[in-house]
């Protein structure tokens, strides 16, 4: 069994629903209790009937006179025949009784008055000869049989096995109840009334027999045995049990289905909330989306509202942090303007004192560096403005990249560039100037870290529905765990002494952040990876291809 099924909310709720199994168990016990009650009732009723019949036959000394003593009776044989008859419900075997059956007319007449439809009455004398016999059990059994088989449903047929009433002694095989019967008759003949449940010979029912002595004065002259079928109880038990089972099944199914639906809904809500939380924050920890607060009043709704508030607060804080650079630069401009204008005034109109000029020069250089730094701090904000206000157009990426590479070759003659572009057009939608800027940043970075003498490898290919641009350089590898963080603003792993293109102007770690901004704007993504051969680092930018290349491609 797959244990994972039970780890979800649905599985757990279903396991809990097994508690419902208590219902049929309790019901079955109740039915058993009811059966015991009914058995007792039937026993008592039969015992009192037997007593009544015995009372009717008592104190009539002439009833039990034997017409003649048959000599040489085989008492044992007689007894066996009687007992055999006892075991059956078939009165046709009366013939087998032979001399054991010596009916007294008087007894039979009385019995005829007392007979009942569902029972058989024996009157036996002290020599165990049957003096009277009335009634039959067969009809009842047949009735019950037909009724049983008429319950065509499978449930009843299944349950018939379970609803057998238990016999007084389960070890007796049917038909071999002889010992017990003998004992019952013997006991009655010495004056002890008994009741006994025995299995019918065809195993189809249980027969209840009650025995009573017949007194004449202080002497026992015979015994009365009344037998009755117990089909009524059996039928009742069968009915009750099958009803119980049916109801239990229905309740189970209904409970099962309801719980399943409820659990499914619960699991779906929780999963949806989890998914929203997951997508609200992207791989770099920026807040991408919002969680819609649910209006439900239960715990999950509350959780959703809490999460929504948390995400919103995080987003606000993130926005504040990101805008801080821009705000800082704005604030810094004014003092920088003051310093610069003061220096300008000094430079314009001071007498040419070389010493003062030197200091003014240095101050000016410092201010220019400061100004440039401020400018780059707000570069991200300006880039965002620029991207928002620039019109998107469809253009051929290859042309732009190829043009840029040409430009780099001209601008940096000491650095080698290997360009692998393939052929054909790779049409994307966006802002060409921004893509050029993105490549500028990546190349600047690559040049800073490139080992001397090695070439920078730039390649551009279409892969599926994306255009993949990669810029690789030989040189030191990325530090572990930082490859995503490098795309965040202000994170830089540049060793202090590295000069490179940024040179003396100072380094803010903004280059890759801008790369990510531009890639995101175009619906793509940027990653940094160590080269598989461990020789260097490759920056990879994947951009989605424009789906309708037949639009006019404007190159401006």
């Amino acid at each position: 069994m797959n244990l994972r099924i039970f780890q979800g909310i649905r599985g757990k709720l279903l396991l809990v629903s097994l508690v419902l199994l208590a219902i049929p168990v309790l019901g079955y016990r109740f039915i058993n209790d009811m059966e015991a009650f009914l058995r007792e009732g039937q026993e008592l009723a039969l015992a009192s009937t037997t007593r009544a019949i015995a009372a009717t036959l008592s104190d009539r000394p002439r009833l039990f006179l034997t017409p003649q003593d048959t000599p040489g009776d085989d008492a044992a044989l007689e007894r066996r025949k009687i007992l055999a008859l006892f075991s059956t419900s078939d009165p046709e075997t009366l013939a087998e009784l032979g001399t054991a059956y010596a009916p007294s007319e008087e007894i039979e007449r009385i019995l005829g008055l007392l007979s009942r439809s569902a029972s058989r009455i024996w009157v036996v004398d002290t020599r165990s000869r049957v003096r009277g016999l009335s009634g039959t059990l067969k009809g009842q059994a047949a009735q019950e049989e037909t009724r049983d088989t008429q319950r065509g449903d499978w449930l009843a047929r299944l349950l018939v096995r379970w609803t057998r009433l238990s016999a007084s002694s389960e070890r007796d095989a049917p038909g071999s109840a002889s010992q017990a019967v003998m004992a019952q008759v013997d006991r009655a003949l010495i004056g002890v009334p008994t009741a006994y449940w025995r299995l019918a010979h065809d195993r189809r029912g249980v027969i209840l027999s009650a025995a009573q002595p017949v007194w004449v004065g202080d002497n026992i002259v015979g015994a009365v045995v009344v037998e009755e079928t117990t089909g009524a109880i059996q039928a009742l038990k069968l009915n009750a049990l099958s009803n119980l089972l049916t109801i239990t099944l229905i309740v189970f199914l209904a409970g099962f289905v309801t719980l399943l639906l409820f659990a499914s809904r619960l699991a779906a809500r929780v999963r949806k909330l989890g998914l929203e939380a997951e997508t609200a924050i992207d791989a770099q920890g920026r807040i991408r989306g919002d969680i819609v607060a649910s209006r439900e009043k239960d715990e999950i709704g509350e959780l959703s509202r809490h999460l929504s508030a948390v995400v919103r607060r995080l987003g606000d804080y993130n926005a504040y942090l990101e805008s801080m650079a821009g705000k800082l630069s704005h604030e810094l401009r004014t003092p920088v303007a003051v310093v610069r204008s003061s220096l300008d005034n000094l430079m314009l109109h001071t007498p040419g004192d070389s010493e003062t000029q030197v200091y003014i020069e240095r101050a000016n250089v410092g201010v220019m560096r400061l100004s440039s730094l401020i400018s780059r701090l707000s570069e991200a904000t300006r880039l965002e403005h620029f991207l928002q206000n620039a019109g998107c157009e469809a253009f051929d990426l290859r042309t732009v990249i190829a043009g840029c590479v040409e430009g780099y070759r001209g601008a940096y003659p000491g650095q080698g560039f290997a360009f692998d572009a393939g052929s054909g057009t790779l049409c994307i939608e966006g802002v060409p100037d921004a893509i050029a800027q993105l490549l500028d940043k990546l190349v600047a970075n690559a040049m800073d870290f490139c080992a001397p003498g090695a070439a920078i490898a730039i390649s551009l290919h279409g892969e599926g529905s994306e255009a993949v641009l990669s810029v690789g350089n030989t040189g030191p590898l990325l530090p572990q765990g930082l490859d995503q963080a490098l795309f965040s603003s202000m994170v830089s792993v540049r060793p202090e002494h590295h000069g490179g293109v940024e040179g003396n102007v100072g380094h803010l770690g903004l280059g890759l952040y801008l790369v990510r901004l531009i890639a995101d704007f175009h619906g793509g993504r940027a990653t940094l990876k160590n080269r598989p051969d461990g020789g260097g680092v490759t920056a990879i930018v994947a951009l989605p291809l424009h789906r309708k290349p037949e639009e006019t491609i404007r190159r401006s």
Binding site: S341, N345, H385
Partner: protein, 229 residues
């Protein structure tokens, strides 16, 4: 006669520094630190050139309002905007207030003085007939270097001083590529690359308003810009 320049700037130190530089260059300067004072003075007597800071005290866009009122008083008056915020350039351009240029506050004073001088030259040039040796013609384009006037297919294109100098840099040698540093030099400013890109974008837009098939300014990716002859 010294030219009269009005300076509206709320930060005291910047205001006085600029005023000093202007005075030392021979201009007569009147300074104001809020909009109302400036307006009151302008209603009495208009200056010959106005330098206006956009954020004036409590009013974030006080400068725009002042410009509008000044323009309603004089169509020809040269107005230069100063601003601490980068985003203002697009706003100013979009508002079409008729400013002649816009600069960030930390512009170097020599660059500022160059622009003021050019604008005063223009006023003088407009008063006298056009001199052909100061006109550059390239196909459908004409540039009058004194009047700082541009026409495309005989229609006037209104450019700021900065934009004019950039276009001039391109068309001086048509077909040659100018990179952003060179354009910055010619336009007398020191800014970063994306600001140059923004200026070029705005220039293209202005030409497109006049002629929607205009595409003579070509971006050469990785290198710069070029005027297509």
């Amino acid at each position: 006669m010294a030219k009269r320049v009005a300076l509206v700037e709320d930060d005291r130190m910047i205001r006085e520094n600029i005023a000093d530089a202007l005075k030392k260059s021979g201009y007569e300067v009147s300074t104001f630190h809020n909009r109302t004072d400036a307006l009151t003075a302008f209603r009495v007597r208009l200056p010959e050139l106005a330098l206006i800071d956009i954020g004036l005290g409590q009013e974030i866009d006080g400068g725009f309002a002042l410009c509008r009122e000044l323009r309603s008083m004089s169509e020809q008056l040269p107005i230069i905007f100063l601003s601490a915020r980068d985003g203002d350039f697009d706003i100013v351009s979009g508002l079409r207030l008729g400013a002649d240029d816009y600069l960030t506050k930390d512009v170097s004073l020599p660059h500022l003085l160059a622009r003021i001088a050019a604008l005063f030259r223009r006023i003088d040039a407009l008063a006298s007939p056009a001199r052909s040796e100061d006109v550059v013609a390239r196909g459908d384009l004409t540039l009058d270097l004194n009047r700082l006037a541009v026409t495309w297919k005989t229609q006037t294109v209104v450019l700021t001083v900065t934009e004019f100098w950039m276009v001039h840099a391109l068309v001086k040698f048509p077909g040659h590529v100018k990179n952003r540093d060179q354009l910055m030099d010619e336009a007398e400013m020191v800014v970063d690359d994306s600001t140059v890109t923004s200026h070029m974008k705005r220039i293209r837009k202005k030409f497109l308003v006049v002629d929607d098939t205009f595409d003579h300014i070509e971006t050469v990716y990785g290198m710069g810009y070029r005027w297509k002859p």
